[in-house]
Amino acid sequence: MAKGSLFISFQLDDEKEIERLYNLYRDQFMSWAVKTFDCERDDAVEIYQQAFVIFYENVKSGKLTSIESNCKTYLFAIGKNKFYEKIRSGNRHNPIEDVIMQSEPEYEEEKFDNSEEKLDAVEKALSKLGSPCREILMKYYYQKNSMEEIAKLMDYKNASTVKNLKYKCLQRLKKILQEERIF
């Protein structure tokens, strides 16, 4: 499959497509990781999943469109960096690895400013919020769908309808968080 078509289909929010793509490079990644880093298979799976999540988020946010490498190269590059991070956190710093890392394609990993405790509280509030508000907020803020795309995916009349609903859903979420004394 050509790079472009893969990217477009990946942006369709189809779980089957995500699963297909995950499985497409999974076994190759596992073989490569176990051989290169002499790690346990469970560690390799964990790193592959982390790499896949970063890859997904970068595709969804449009940060990946300018990259010159293909999906596989990109996934493996993130995975490699993740392995180095893991090695570093185990205090086994190797300056040669830093040099290798500099030659890899750059990727951006979103870090959260808020504490995990607060983020967990928002997650709980989202589950209380229920459907369809939770889906609308998730599609807009995490999956980075446009208002038009959400309208199409969720059968709303148009983008302004979704925008209006999203605003109401956020107000509701805010109220729940106030009641939970998070704000």
Binding site: V122, E123, R134, Q143, D155, K157, L165, L170
Partner: protein, 250 residues
């Protein structure tokens, strides 16, 4: 759009890095002197980050499930034969069950509608159940609807005069009447949503089709189902299956 919504748009654009140039500078100047605005930015940032965090956890959970399924599919050969026999037996039973059910359902649009019916979820969920005193009238009505107290929900919806929420109120009243099997009243309200609504017309078509089937108006149901199939909505697949099941011939 209200002043509050405009303010929210600006805050969101700032958090998402969409503000540029002088607008961004003006906003940041205002942030320095306006404690209330700073507090709002902080709140919205937490809600946006929390949603992303939740989305990430959901995706990781999905990937972990893929791994679990892979593990299940790669069981040792010794257990495979008995597993295959088990699966084969289950499939035969399922097919037999399906044939019996399908035959009986094909004869009964009413039963088909019941099988496909799931109440439409309350828009705001049951977020504040247990703290009834703090709820708005609309939230109270939604909670009654969600707990299937349809007549009480209708009574509460009827008292509401939120002019900006009219479509939502009518749609949920229609859903409540459907929950009570009051097909005449739900038809009138669903038709209003289909003809004049902006948010729920597709959903209204689906539920009205189910109401028609339960009311033995198969032809009217089929027309709505055909519309839904043609529109390529989230109801298309279900509508297509339902149309085949009722074996409708125009």
């Amino acid at each position: 759009m209200s002043i509050e919504e405009n303010k929210y748009d600006l805050i969101e654009d700032y958090i998402l890095g969409k503000l540029e140039g002088s607008v961004k500078k003006d906003f940041e100047d205002l942030l320095r002197v306006d404690a209330e605005l700073r507090s709002s930015v902080k709140e919205y940032k937490l809600m946006i980050e929390g949603t992303r965090y939740s989305g990430r956890k959901k995706l990781i959970g999905f990937l972990q499930n893929i791994e679990k399924n892979r593990s299940k599919n790669s069981r040792p050969a010794g257990t495979m034969r008995s597993l295959y026999y088990g699966i084969a037996a289950a499939i035969i039973l399922l097919i037999a069950f399906y044939v019996v059910i399908d035959n009986s359902l094909q004869k009964s649009p009413v039963k088909l509608a019941e099988a496909y019916y799931e109440p439409y979820p309350a828009l705001y969920g049951s977020a504040t159940r247990g703290v009834e005193n703090n709820l708005t009238e609309l939230e109270q009505a939604m909670n009654l609807y969600e707990s299937a107290q349809y007549q009480a929900a209708i009574d509460r919806f009827q008292k509401l005069d939120n002019t900006d929420q009219q479509e939502l109120i009518i749609f949920y009243m229609a859903n409540s009447y459907l929950g009570l099997d009051n097909f005449n009243d739900c038809e009138v309200l669903y038709r209003t949503v289909i003809d004049t609504g902006e948010i729920f017309p597709t959903q209204a078509k689906w539920y009205l089709a189910l109401a028609y089937l339960q009311d033995k108006k198969t032809e009217q149901a089929a027309k709505l189902l055909q519309d839904l199939v043609a529109k390529n909505s989230e109801y298309s697949e279900k509508s297509s299956k339902l149309l085949k099941s009722i074996n409708y011939q125009p």
